[in-house]
């Protein structure tokens, strides 16, 4: 995963996009689940950032700012097209066996990926930001504009759905 917020900020738009664009695309890909939509979301966010780059480049955490634009573009995009989206209704984990010492086989990865993509957008966004971007709940709350309690609830419900989809009975909790 990418620590989008941890690196130095290049001064120009082009330099910054060259350095941080791949991480943004990966985040968008995890959020949207496919390459075309990921590119669409990132280009949309960057095209909105471009005319304001003079100001954005001076904010304290440029990466976080643009990441927020990407997440907003994703949720906005999702709202716009949600009627056309038909996520997998069900994930069937039969036959998945974790390899010894590996713990996460390719099949399980695929199933988790598919189950994650089938989550409602708010839950998926929260889960991705928590476990892919590894943001704290407070950071996710600030980024998505909802209360921290709401973020915790979304993550918790999202994980519960994923556990259910994967037939995972353990109740380990993330603090």
């Amino acid at each position: 995963m990418d620590e989008v917020g941890a690196r130095a900020v290049p001064a120009s738009f082009d330099d910054w996009v060259e350095a941080r664009g791949p991480a943004l695309l990966r985040l968008a890909y995890v959020l949207t689940g496919n390459a075309a939509d990921a590119e669409d979301v990132v280009q949309d966010a960057l095209s909105r950032a471009l005319p304001r780059w003079d100001r954005i480049s001076r904010v304290e955490d440029v990466d976080a700012y643009v990441r927020r634009m990407v997440v907003n573009a994703h949720t906005s995009w999702w709202r716009k097209f949600r009627r056309r989206e038909s996520p997998a209704a069900e994930v069937r984990p039969e036959g998945v066996v974790a390899g010894p010492g590996e713990g996460l086989g390719a099949d399980e990865r695929h199933l988790l990926w598919a189950a994650c993509q089938a989550l409602p957008v708010d839950q998926r966004t929260a889960v991705v930001l928590r476990y892919y971007e590894q943001l704290e709940y407070g950071e996710i709350a600030a980024l998505t504009g909802v209360r921290e309690g709401t973020v915790r609830s979304r993550v918790s419900r999202g994980i519960a759905v994923l556990r259910d989809a994967m037939g995972d009975e353990r109740g380990e909790r993330d603090g």
């Binding site: 791949p22 890909y29 995890v30 590119e39 471009l50 990926w113 991705v128 380990e172």
Partner: protein, 504 residues
């Protein structure tokens, strides 16, 4: 992090490796920005023309000489997301701005709509929407704005992306056993950006003198439009949504909807401090809760109050006031005043005088009204260190603001462009809103009313300078001792002099 969550993270990380390559993202962003700007320009032109073109195209009227006026350039306020913005004038249903240009995709039969229009034209007659009266139910242009389970909302007449033109209205159509029936119509002049359920619109306006363009924390005034029994809105406000662009700053504010029955009294207009990435500068500030966004008056450089100094004394004077020399007692003395009157006539002026020798006929802080040859004059004076600032103008608010700004170098700059009323028991007074400092109120400023102690009555005590930003003064009014703690001696004097109290 638990094991399962860890597996989720690794699955997402592994999946992310399939993300597309990031070639040409910056150039792609530029292309998309150019395309969006072209679309906006087209949308703006279309918005001006569509009202003429659409009815002809859709309903096949005429076909001859369409007197299409010159297209209006797109409004500067039309931001990239504008077409998707949900707006409403009815509260229970909303539609995107783009719908007012081209309608929304729908399967409402035109024949059914026309039948409803014709019946509407026949039944209420002169009360029917003007476009239907004038053009007929079978010809009046319309667009479908929203379709819900129970009602279809159409816009009749000429609509643009800014909303209805003069003859346009909305009509609500309900499905009945006899087809669509018009169940309500209104002019839809006050379009607002749609808010989530449970939120109410809050109007944002400028304080007296306009919004300060030089600060990242400018102050505005906010006011709830709904009936709220006159509550103070501050405890119910959401975070201001501020969008900054090259040309403008857009503020949207809402409040928690009033719970229960409310009386419709005048709601208070209270100050609120915004937090911007950059000062407004030349950019326009908008209340983006309305559609289109409503410009909020920004004080421009030529409207800025100016600081004048006399040794360590300072004061703020209205824009355009200038310095002249006025003769008095055989000498010349600097006096400030507006350009359209002679400051040396002291009808509108401000001047510093030596405090030790100032011979006043009234207490400092008293602002009194006089009238000569039909000219009203509000005048007074206050102390600022070793100096007295004396001022007068035909406008009481201007005189008060000038006097309240008197201070010594290093003391806070008080901008008393608004005054509030305070009261305790039978004592009443006025003080600058937020003590003229903006931001959150400083709880250490205030007025204390106590019983007047025995002994000689004190009209006005000497000031006690507690620190650079706190001055305390007291005076006896009626049976009360009034103690004022204010940002400056001038403000303390003005507040103390405003106290009115009974003798009982």
């Amino acid at each position: 992090m638990g094991d399962f969550e860890d597996r989720v993270g690794r699955a997402l990380g592994a999946g992310a490796e399939d993300a597309p390559a990031a070639h040409g993202l910056a150039d792609g962003a530029r292309r998309r920005l150019r395309a969006r700007r072209r679309r906006l320009a087209v949308a703006g032109v279309a918005a001006a023309v569509v009202a003429v073109v659409v009815p002809l195209a859709v309903f096949g009227q005429d076909g001859g000489d369409h007197n299409v006026s010159d297209p209006v350039p797109p409004a500067d306020s039309l931001e990239p997301d504008a077409a998707d913005t949900e707006v409403s004038c009815v509260g229970w249903v909303s539609w995107p701005v783009s719908a007012m240009v081209e309608g929304i995709p729908n399967d409402v039969e035109e024949a059914d709509v026309r039948d409803a229009f014709v019946r509407l034209q026949a039944a209420p007659g002169i009360d029917a929407p003007r476009a239907i009266q004038e053009q007929g139910g079978d010809a009046a242009p319309y667009i479908v704005l929203a379709v819900s389970d129970r009602v279809t909302v159409v816009g009749v007449g000429e609509w643009t992306s800014d909303g209805p033109r003069a003859d346009a209205q909305i009509v609500e159509l309900k499905q009945t056993s006899n087809g669509l029936k018009a169940v309500g119509w209104s002019d839809c002049r006050r379009l607002s950006v749609a808010l989530p359920e449970g939120r109410s619109r809050v109007e944002v306006t400028a304080p007296a003198g306009g919004v300060d363009p030089t600060t990242t924390s400018p102050q505005v005034l906010v006011h709830e439009g709904a009936c709220t029994s006159g509550r103070d809105p501050r405890a119910h406000l959401g975070e201001p949504q501020v969008t900054e662009t090259e040309g403008g700053v857009y503020v949207t504010l809402s409040s928690q909807a009033f719970d229960g029955a409310a009386t419709c009294v005048g709601n208070p207009r209270v100050p609120l401090t915004l937090h911007l990435d950059e000062p407004l500068g030349d950019r326009q500030l908008y209340d983006a809760g309305t559609w289109p966004p409503t410009p909020i008056r920004v004080a421009r450089a030529d409207e800025q109050w100016q600081t004048v100094a006399q040794d360590h004394a300072r004061a703020e004077l209205p824009p355009g006031w200038h310095e002249v020399e006025c003769g008095s007692d055989g000498g010349e003395h600097p006096v400030f005043g507006p350009t359209d009157v002679d400051p040396c006539e002291f009808g509108a002026y401000a001047a510093f005088y030596g405090g030790a020798t100032y011979d006043a006929l009234q207490f400092s802080g008293e602002v009194t009204r006089s009238e000569e040859d039909g000219e009203v004059r509000w005048s007074g004076y206050v102390y600022a260190g070793d100096w007295v600032l004396s001022a007068a103008s035909p406008d009481r608010d201007v005189t008060l603001r000038i006097l309240a700004s008197a201070r010594t170098d290093g003391q806070p700059v008080v901008v008393a462009d608004q005054w509030a009323a305070g009261a305790a028991g039978d004592a009443e007074w006025r003080y600058p809103t937020r003590w003229g400092l903006g931001g959150d109120p400083d709880p250490t400023y205030g007025v204390e009313v106590s019983a007047r102690p025995g002994g000689e009555r004190v009209e006005q005590s000497l000031p006690e300078q507690l620190d650079q930003a706190h001055v305390r003064m007291y005076g006896d009014v009626g049976t009360h001792r009034i103690t004022v703690t204010a940002p400056s001696r001038a403000v303390a004097e003005l507040v103390l002099s405003s106290v009115v109290a009974g003798e009982g």
